[in-house]
Amino acid sequence: MDTKKYVIRQISIFSENRPGRLAAIAQALGEEKVNILAFSIAEANGFGVVRALVDHPEKAHDKLQSMGFNIAFTDVIAVKMKDQPGGLYEVAKILGDSGINIEYSYAYSGKEGAVLILRVDQVDEAIKKIRNSGATLIERSVFH
């Protein structure tokens, strides 16, 4: 199975936990006409990691890097959720049963329902299992 087309490039940005950092990131992306499709912040004491799916990851990466931000690409996958009780359980169970660990995840409400973004420790394996289970993975081309 060609798993590549389901691998999505998330940008991950190291940010100090102080006023104005997120604004600086958002303003820079706006100026570059980069659209943010999904987004989350994880924070620890004093610093955080901003994670985002954007329509032009390379452009976003280069711009933020030139501003001195510590930024990296991370491979994630996106699962289309059934809009009914138990939707999350199905996806989590498939991965859990296969011994695939979810490092973190976040969700956003897409045009056709909720989408779950997953950062897993075995990307290819996760894609195969989810595809085999009949759940819908969103292709990279939808994002960028």
């Binding site: 190291f14 100090e16 004093g46 610093f47 990691v49 001195g68 931000f69 973190y104 950062r119």
Partner: protein, 433 residues
């Protein structure tokens, strides 16, 4: 291996000590007889030149301090007539009133010769292009290095400090093979070069760094050598000694102090008692041949260790280890002495964080609180918070182990900590005592 002056540089230690004794004796007689300042000082200490009968008797002589120069501003204790002076240098006075140092022609010659020996000992000479990126002017670094480099027949590129992009262009265009500057300025040059798309390692002929005027560490040396493709050598001196005066040799095992020019002691900063070779203490120097402004047992305030074994380069002159801090930079955190250089040293062994750091000392309740801010390296960034927390814990753990006090660490964005072109100010002490 090249020597500038083989006879002096390889002279047996006993002969060197005999020479030092003679120089000290005549210096003390001269000052006792002709300078009221030194005369009064020796009287107060109840010591007469006749009491100096062997080299270790130097410990009978009174100390000199920076405040002696400040109190006698600008030239009250100079011991050469005004018309014998050929130059002044003035120290910046960051910690008080400025101090003025005067030089006779012989003083300048000795300074230059000292550097000529040092620069030769690291393999520089005719054919080298030495970029002098120490400040020219009242500060001793620029002019001192300038004349030392000219003396060995090298070509000097006198860029002074600042305008870093132009420095990098000139370094490339004129093929500089060596640079003399502060370690933090060389780091800055490396960073600016990268932003310009220039690799110091691949796109320049730079192979040697002569770095000093602020404390740095072995870890910084390794990192700069790797990153910039150079050999980095320590240089030592202060304006009171003349300026940057003594360097390491190609063995990089400490700075050789030429015994015919200077007598080094390491003393206990609290009691003033001399310590044995190999013990850590305050560097105290007597400049043996200075005419305009002699220095007897001058307490520089730098912390170091003296090594008296013959260096593997074959030179017999003693070496001082890398400066490990300043007596007055010492922070006391919950009763424990902490030198910023110890923090620097510990950080350099941790690849996940950068070269720059900032120390913030505060008092929370009745307890001192030590916070160290470090830049996370690009390669170590992870999108997983846990990985970053582990890096921070590791840094905290290592700092705690080397300092014996609790340390909080803050990871900050690369490039966000202040850079300094000159002496770094890395400590913010917010304690109101």
């Amino acid at each position: 291996m090249m020597r500038w002056d083989p006879r002096i540089e390889e002279m047996p230690r006993e002969d060197l000590k005999r020479m030092q004794y003679k120089l000290l004796k005549s210096l003390v007689y001269r000052l006792y007889s002709f300078s009221s300042f030194y005369h009064d000082r020796m009287k107060e200490q109840n010591v007469h030149p006749d009491d100096i009968r062997e080299l270790p008797d130097v410990k009978k002589l009174p100390f000199m301090f920076k405040r002696d120069l400040r109190d006698n501003y600008p030239d009250k204790i100079f011991t050469a007539p005004r018309d014998e002076l050929v130059r002044y240098h003035v120290s910046s006075g960051t910690t008080g009133k400025p101090t003025v140092v005067g030089y006779t022609q012989n003083d300048l010659d000795n300074w230059t010769i000292s550097l000529a020996r040092g620069l030769t000992s690291i393999g520089l000479g005719r054919g080298d292009v030495i970029q002098v990126s120490y400040g020219y002017g009242l500060f001793t670094g620029g002019l001192g290095m300038h004349y030392g480099a000219e003396r060995i027949g090298a070509t000097v590129l006198p860029t002074s400090v600042g305008n870093t992009e132009r420095q990098i262009e000139l370094m490339q265009d004129l093929g500089a093979t060596a640079i003399a500057c502060t370690p933090s300025y060389l780091l800055h040059i490396g960073e600016v070069a990268e932003k310009m798309g220039v690799s110091i390692k691949k796109d320049t002929k730079l192979r040697t760094g002569i770095l000093g005027a602020e404390p740095w560490t072995e870890g910084m040396r390794n990192r700069m050598e790797d990153w910039l493709g150079i050999k980095a050598y320590d240089i030592y001196g202060t304006s009171e000694l003349s300026g940057p005066m003594f360097t390491e040799c190609s063995e990089q095992k400490g700075v050789h102090i030429w015994s015919d020019l200077a007598l080094v002691e390491i003393i206990d900063p609290k009691t003033g008692e001399p310590l044995e070779a190999g013990e850590r203490g305050e560097l105290t120097i007597t400049i043996l041949q200075k005419e305009a402004l002699p220095m007897i047992r001058y307490r520089i305030g730098d912390i170091s260790v003296l090594e008296e074994d013959t260096c593997s380069c074959g030179r017999t002159h003693p070496r001082i280890q890398r400066i490990q801090g300043r007596v007055d930079d010492m922070l006391i955190i919950r009763g424990i002495n902490v030198f910023p250089s110890q923090i620097e040293y510990a950080l350099m062994a941790i690849p996940e964080v950068g070269q720059h750091f900032q120390i913030v000392v505060d008092r929370k309740g009745s307890l001192d609180d030590l916070l160290v801010r470090v830049e996370l390296n690009k390669e170590s960034f992870s999108d997983k918070i846990n990985d970053l927390m582990l890096i921070r814990q590791n840094v905290e753990h290592r700092l705690r182990n080397s300092l014996n006090v609790n340390v909080d660490v803050e990871l900050v964005e690369p490039g966000s900590l202040p850079r300094f072109e000159g002496k770094s100010k890395k400590v913010i002490d917010k304690r109101v005592l």
